[in-house]
Amino acid sequence: MKFSARSLFANALSGHQNWPEQFPNKEPKSEYDVVIVGAGGHGLGAAYYLAKKYGITNVAVVEKGWLGGGNTGRNTTIIRSNYLFDESAGIYDHAVDLWDGLSQELNYNVMFSKRGVLMLAHNVHDVQSFQRHVHANRLNGVDNKWLTPEECKEFVPILDISQNRRYPVMGGALQQRAGVARHDSVAWGYARAASKLGVDIIQNCMVTGIRRGPDGAVLGVETQKGFIGAKKIGVSAAGNTSVVMEMAGLRFPLESYPLQALVSEPVKPIVPCVIMSNAVHAYISQSDKGELVIGAGTDQYTSYSQRGALHIVEHTLMSICEIFPIFRRMRMLRSWGGIVDVTPDRSPILGKTPVPGLYVNCGWGTGGFKATPGAADMLAYTIAHDAPHKINAPFNLDRFVGGRLIDEAAAAAVAH
């Protein structure tokens, strides 16, 4: 069934009681060409692109919980590509290219809204660093431009640009092409489009082991629902990647941290774009429902608990109120945590592993949502060709031995 004005009208006549299910919940077959571990946006997207672009439709996505219940449903939905290094520009801008038109391609409204991301500069170092980012981005063909304080004020009217504040606004870098999307829709849209192409989505099916043959190559995955044979396995398990990789005898340069976010009560439109401040360390946007969506850095310790400490939330809100005193009386409705897998250089690992037939997409840390379509496409390409695309080739595992790090941690100086 295709979503259209006509199908909407037809279903309205029957009181919206007869919409068909969007994707069937399958039981596993005994064998697949490719098994993807993790049904978040990245994993479901990889299954979709495998079927759509690379002609491999005998694919299963196995998920230990429910579809999109991990970091896909726990992020602050920000999409941008204004990263410093050429490699990052390549992969994040590829993702933004795919975000454009994703709703049409999936016939599912992911509500990608190019409302812009404004990164505020509060000191001379910020100004120099952001202007360097703007120049580097423009050399790579990535949209980003410098705004004076007055231009920032024009873009975000609630911004106080008086220069006698503790953190004065000395300018900002605006990526107009960036924005937000509806995160759950991304998972649901990919799931629906992938299952239409023959992909099986198997929920409540935790992977408990990876079976390998005498030559070391993968044979399949042991799961709660029994053994599932697979010629190739793609792991897209975010915070639990280390756990899955250990099943194949691999140790990874990853640490899993809780990252919290929160939303306020809904209010009339007041925040027109995404506003980030590295120096004060917080970011804010407003959902289409009207809630302020707020986030900042991770908790300090590693954890798999999917929750964090209240003092981190307090600190985040203090930062928001420092930039926007107008929000001091807002009440927060909900907060939650996700487990993010962080690499030493804060850039992802996306490609082959030392185990034949095992591929990985991990290490997106605090910024994986924005990359969803790009990462999914690159994982699918790598699995289909048994070799990385030139966009994801630099994000290999070997860089932690060879030393060719892509040090966005140093470039951004904060969570990104």
Partner: protein, 106 residues
């Protein structure tokens, strides 16, 4: 917020007094070892982490307190501390951790 028992101060203090300092029991190679180490061995020391889902030995720093470092065993799923111990103690064995857990549960 955690309440963390500092083995130097001998009392429970709130987490904001402490800084997390990563996985414990990773020994920096000595000068004579360093010359002989391969890139892969350096990578193992610098970057590769167990990232345990379960009982994790980790280092904490009582930065806004006695300023001392110490180690702890914490369950990374429940976030419960099982025991904190001073640096210099060997990595506790599984049976030692079980004993600590039994003692804590009375």
């Amino acid at each position: 917020m955690f309440l963390i028992h500092c083995p130097h101060c001998q009392e429970d203090r709130p987490e904001i007094e402490f800084a997390y300092a990563g996985e414990a029991h990773i020994v920096r190679p000595g000068p004579e070892q360093q010359d002989a180490m391969s890139d892969a061995e350096w990578s193992e020391f610098m970057f590769i982490r167990d990232n345990v889902r379960g009982e994790h030995c980790e280092r904490w720093w009582h930065a806004n307190g006695c300023n001392m470092f110490f180690n702890a065993v914490r369950n990374t799923v429940s976030d419960k501390f099982i025991k904190t111990y001073k640096i210099g103690h060997k990595r506790p064995s599984a049976s030692q951790i079980q004993k600590w857990k039994d003692a804590a549960n009375g």
